[in-house]
């Protein structure tokens, strides 16, 4: 009885390991997809920004309001 239990525990922990590896793998795929999506988004934003970043920022000077 005891041995069986140990065995089944072992096999279940092995299953868990497999499951965990799968989850990690899936997570990595999701992460990679997210990174690629972010890369695309940042590229889109880059295309919309003024070329001269410094002049764009420094050029915005206006008297204070309230």
């Amino acid at each position: 009885m005891e041995r069986k239990q140990v065995q089944s525990q072992q096999s279940s922990s092995a299953e868990q390991e497999v499951a965990q590896v799968e989850i990690q793998h899936q997570a990595r795929e999701v992460n990679q997809a997210q990174v690629a999506e972010t890369d695309d988004l940042l590229a889109e934003i880059d295309g919309l920004l003024e070329e001269n970043a410094e002049e764009f920022v420094k050029g915005f000077v206006q008297k204070g309001g309230q």
């Binding site: 206006q62 204070g64 309001g65």
Partner: protein
């Protein structure tokens, strides 16, 4: 006060980027921006049929004041309608400039500071009852206003680190940094009647724009201009709940702060939320400790008194998640709902891909472009379209709000303006008064901002309608 009137006034920054020589100063740019307003209304200070006020303010800042709103969704739709109206004016200005042979691009920023450290505001209005002891309410609200920036700030980079203030260290001097708030560095005191010489958290001028015997206006001027709808919802919603607790004398700890200006800066430049500052009683507290107290009190209060607005459960939940995020440094639960976290996520993604840090010119540019109101070019708007910023009000509702007033006194005003315009009558309006210039017998006052119908105005509208060939229709500018 369970029902309340809300309003937000936003000053925008204006800038023109020329392709070649020939920059356009803010005065000239604003003049071109307002050209269609002047052509249509013969003034740079107008009330529109949606009940709002659109005008050119001190320092050539285009400004939009939402119509009186009695619920938070209307307020957000109205606030966003202001961006939409100005984006339309921006398009028209671009055409005018091209006709004049000027090559370049005009920008309007919904932020609070320019590159030289000049600040402009976002003012919030909360109606309160006259019978409430005003000075005490102001005193009790100030500690909440000092510390709420850790939830609702719009975020700001500091290429040379935080500017030091007095003897208490503010952040890490000299190191490029990111702060919660745009506005915190420009506020000097708790409450006064000033707005530009010395900026307080609360402006105490007594202008109720309503029956002065019944109502008063709490005019909060230290908040950041928010791009995110959900951040605006939390900013106004949480402040409304705290006001309710104070009005009802719900027991809250006394956090009276010793030095408002120092506390504001310490809180803004400490992303951990744990930096302590001195209270009037000599003890020390952090923004997180104080906000945790306000939030747990708000939960108890709402349990006892009930949810008075549809968004209260969401407001309390976002409030909790924002404090958790600051406490743990894990912003993933708020990085589509809170402006500073949305912005920081974007900047950090650029830094992870090679930008040198918060002092990188590209990062500075993104920080500013986040607030560009152009729907296709502005960085916040691009993020929102990509699903990186949550909204609570639809694009259709915002478009509708550029034309249709909320169901308050604004409705009376909006209908009056539309009818008078259609009848070709000269008129004068402000928040309270409606006048036909050539018919002095029609000089009406609406002192109850909750009232959306007036028999007198209805009779006037009927009379004017008989002389009208066609109803006046949008575009109104």
């Amino acid at each position: 006060m369970e029902r309340r009137i809300f309003g937000i006034e936003t000053e925008y920054g204006i800038s023109y980027v020329p392709d070649q020589l020939g920059p356009l100063g803010p005065e000239e740019a604003a003049r071109i921006l307002f050209k269609p307003v002047v052509e249509s209304w013969r003034s740079t200070n107008v009330f529109l049929p949606n009940g709002s006020r659109l005008y050119l303010d001190v320092g050539s800042h285009p400004e939009y004041a939402t119509a009186e709103s009695a619920n938070l969704r209307d307020l957000i739709a109205q606030d966003k309608a202001g961006e939409m109206l100005f984006a339309d004016l921006l398009n028209q200005a671009q055409d005018t400039l091209e006709e004049l042979g000027q090559q370049g691009r005009m920008y309007l920023f919904k932020n609070n500071v320019d590159s030289a450290g000049n600040s402009f505001g976002s003012h919030e209005n909360f109606m309160i009852e006259r019978k409430v002891e005003f000075a005490k309410l102001v005193r009790s609200l100030i500690p909440f206003l000092i510390t709420r920036q850790i939830m609702v700030g719009a975020g700001k980079t500091h290429p040379t680190g935080p500017e030091q203030w007095g003897s208490t260290p503010v952040g890490v001097a000299g190191e490029p940094s990111f702060s919660f708030s745009q506005r915190a560095d420009y506020i000097w005191e708790g409450a006064s009647t000033a707005t530009t010489r010395s900026r307080p958290l609360i402006n105490t001028r007594d202008e109720p724009h309503a029956d002065a015997q019944l109502y008063r206006r709490m005019h909060v001027i230290n908040g950041d201009s928010n791009m995110s709808q959900t951040t605006t919802l939390l900013k106004i919603g949480a402040t409304d709940i705290v006001l309710r607790m104070l009005e009802d004398h719900f027991p809250l700890a006394n956090f009276e702060v010793k030095d408002t200006a120092t506390a504001l800066r310490v809180v803004s430049h400490d992303l951990t939320g744990t930096a302590r500052f001195e209270l009037a009683d000599g003890s020390f507290k952090s923004a997180l400790e104080m906000q945790r107290h306000y939030l747990s009190s708000a939960h108890k209060y709402i349990e006892q008194h009930g949810t008075h607005r549809e968004d209260v459960p969401y407001i309390l939940d976002l409030w909790k998640r924002a404090l958790q995020a600051v406490e743990t440094g894990d912003y993933s639960a708020i990085d589509t709902e809170i402006d500073w976290a949305i912005k920081k996520k974007l900047l950090d993604a650029y830094i992870a891909r090679g930008a040198s840090g918060y002092d990188d010119p590209r990062i500075q540019q993104l920080d500013l472009s986040y607030h560009d109101i152009d729907p296709d070019r502005g960085v916040f708007n691009v993020l929102a379209k990509a699903g990186r910023a949550r909204s609570v009000v639809s694009a259709e509702a915002i478009e509708q709000a550029t034309m249709v007033p909320p169901n308050t006194r604004a409705k009376i005003r909006g209908r009056f303006i539309a009818a008078a315009r259609a009848a070709g009558e000269q008129f004068t309006v402000d928040w309270v008064h409606l006048r036909l210039n050539n018919k002095p017998q029609f000089n009406l006052q609406c002192k109850d901002p909750f009232e959306s119908h007036s028999d007198e105005v209805q009779m006037l509208l009927n009379a004017m309608r008989q002389t009208t060939a066609e109803p006046w229709s949008p575009p109104f500018i």
